[in-house]
């Protein structure tokens, strides 16, 4: 099993989700996150005083898949989330030791 973590631009979330549904992914977890990378933060101005805000809002998706699907999921996320501009985000692929569905006690690939 692999966990695929993708940090993408918030407005791309729907496209990524639809694309993943299209290849048969049945579940994922989403969180709103903030961070910085090569994309700079932005400037805010209050009563004439400028402030730089370093952290940029992003969305993090976590998808658990069988090993043989990982490459396809990565490609699908890349296609859907890409704008070609700086700040498109990153994808991490992480090996997962086990997964358990709490309701049924199923384990491993059955629990995905």
């Amino acid at each position: 099993m692999k966990k695929i973590e993708a940090i993408v631009k918030p407005f791309k979330l729907d496209e990524v989700k639809d694309a993943l549904s299209g290849i048969g992914i049945k579940g994922l977890t989403v969180s709103e996150v903030q961070g910085f990378g090569r994309q700079k933060g932005h400037t805010e101005v209050y009563r004439g005083a400028e402030y730089t805000v370093d952290f940029v809002p992003k969305v993090k998706l976590e998808v658990l898949v069988e090993d043989n699907l990982a490459a396809q999921v990565v490609d699908t996320i890349m296609d859907a989330a890409k704008t070609g501009k700086i700040g498109d985000g990153k994808i991490f692929v992480i090996p997962v030791e086990d997964a358990i569905r709490i309701r049924t006690n199923e384990r491993g690939n059955d629990a995905i």
């Binding site: 101005v45 209050y46 009563r47 004439g48 005083a49 730089t52 805000v53």
Partner: protein
């Protein structure tokens, strides 16, 4: 009671209610501009003033400000506990409404003035030391200044200094105290280094709307009678607010920035503060010029804190102090006997002496309030310490001073902890359990 005019009385009572509404409005105006962790601490400072200062006003404040004069400096204690302040008019102040109506209208001014100062020491003052400062300032600064400028026999009033609705008594005095507060309490941790930005500007906009609405009661009500003068003050107030809203936004846009919502709201308040001392003395045309000037002058005034390094957190000095001074001097320029015969003309209508009187009023009120505020801060700091400690400041005033938080956006609804009962909240867990158990099948 044959002298009572029912129209005037109805008008002043409604105006008093409108001015009361300004203090919770100010609480929201300020509350939106601080960080999430200080929203309640900031709101509470204005709200508790509504309680405490009103009680002090009833007990002795009104008497010291408006009681029979002693040496032009202070009222005596004739009206202590509102003794003799009844339904018959007090002809020296307002001959057509009950004395009690004048007293309650003035109470609302006494309340909002110290509340204005709280913006200068926002996010870092202990609740106890804030209370001590506020009560001392109200007694030592507000009551004498109100008497000098508005009291029958007050020495500035006798000199002919004009202050229609509180440019000196309310805005310049609180602005000078705010400067002392910002200098004395020191900067917030991280000021100038990390972004300390408003957490809820929509809250500030709601507050602005309430303040603007209440300001009609503040300024028009200061005519103390329903009629032409009140109408003129109403109109000049609205004109100045709108003109300053526009001029502030134009300046920040022209300077290469973007037109901001907070700028529009701040401009409106600057215009309202600036027209306050002049509202009943100047024409609507003059109000346009005063308002436009207010937006531009106050915009530049608030940037001074970065130049000089004092942390006037919510710009009380730049908006209320500078606005109050600008408006008081504007009355010396634009006052017209055609608008208010009792006041006479200003410089632009051939009477330069009024401008000098206005300047003297500014010098006296600002100087007195600043020095007295510094002394009060020094004493309060010696006795109980002015600032919260580092940990409390980082935690925020809401939790450290009041044991509550403004927003629970966790979605857990507080279920991530336990309920601790205390003597004051002595609920009976056993009865709750039995109720729950009957619902369980």
């Amino acid at each position: 009671m044959q002298n009572i005019n029912t129209g005037d009385t109805a008008f002043i009572l409604i105006c008093a209610a409108m001015v009361m509404f300004m203090t919770p409005g100010l609480a929201l105006f300020y509350g939106g501009m601080v960080r999430t962790k200080n929203v309640l601490g900031t709101i509470m400072q204005s709200f508790i003033i509504l309680g405490i200062i009103n009680l002090l006003w009833m007990l002795f404040g009104y008497s010291l400000a408006f009681g029979p004069d002693k040496f032009g400096l202070i009222g005596d204690l004739s009206y202590i506990g509102l003794k003799g302040v009844g339904m018959a008019p007090n002809a020296a102040y307002a001959p057509t409404i009950p004395h009690e109506a004048f007293m309650i209208f003035q109470a609302m001014f006494a309340i909002i003035t110290p509340a204005l100062i709280t913006g200068a020491f926002a996010e870092r003052m202990k609740f106890s030391s804030f209370l001590a400062f506020t009560i001392a300032w109200f007694i030592i600064v507000y009551l004498p200044v109100a008497h000098w400028v508005w009291g029958n026999g007050g020495w500035l009033r006798n000199l002919g200094v004009l202050d229609f609705a509180g440019g000196l008594v309310v805005h310049a005095s609180s602005g000078a105290a705010a400067l002392a507060a910002a200098i004395f309490t020191g900067r917030r941790r991280g000021f100038g280094a990390e972004p300390i930005i408003p957490h809820n500007i929509p809250l500030t906009i709601i507050g602005t709307g309430i303040l603007w609405f209440g300001w009609f009661g503040f300024n028009a009500g200061s005519a103390l009678a329903a009629g032409g003068l009140a109408t003129n003050a109403f109109v000049t107030t609205h004109i100045a607010a709108t003109a300053a809203t526009v001029s502030w936004v134009v300046v920040e846009w022209l300077k290469g920035g973007k037109p901001t919502t907070l700028g529009a709201a701040t401009g409106a308040i600057a215009g309202l503060a600036t027209i306050t001392p002049a509202a009943g003395y100047v024409s609507p045309t003059a109000a346009i010029l005063i308002g436009l000037a207010a937006g531009i002058v106050c915009y530049y005034a608030i940037s001074l804190k970065f130049k000089f390094g004092y942390d006037d957190s919510l710009d009380v000095v730049g908006v209320h102090g500078v606005g109050g001074i600008l408006g008081t001097l504007s009355a010396g320029l634009f006052a017209s006997a055609a608008i208010n015969g009792a006041a006479g003309n200003g410089l632009f209508f051939g009477n330069p002496s009024l401008l000098w009187k206005q300047a003297l009023g500014v010098f006296v009120v600002v100087g007195f309030s600043f020095i007295a505020s510094m002394v009060i801060f020094k004493i309060v700091d010696k006795l109980i310490g002015v600032r919260v400690d580092e940990e409390d400041e980082i935690t925020g005033l809401d939790l450290s001073q009041h044991s509550e938080v403004g927003y629970d956006l966790s979605g857990l609804g507080g279920s991530a902890g336990g309920f601790v009962t205390s003597g004051a909240f002595d609920v009976h867990p056993s009865s709750q359990v039995s109720t729950a158990s009957t619902e369980t099948p």
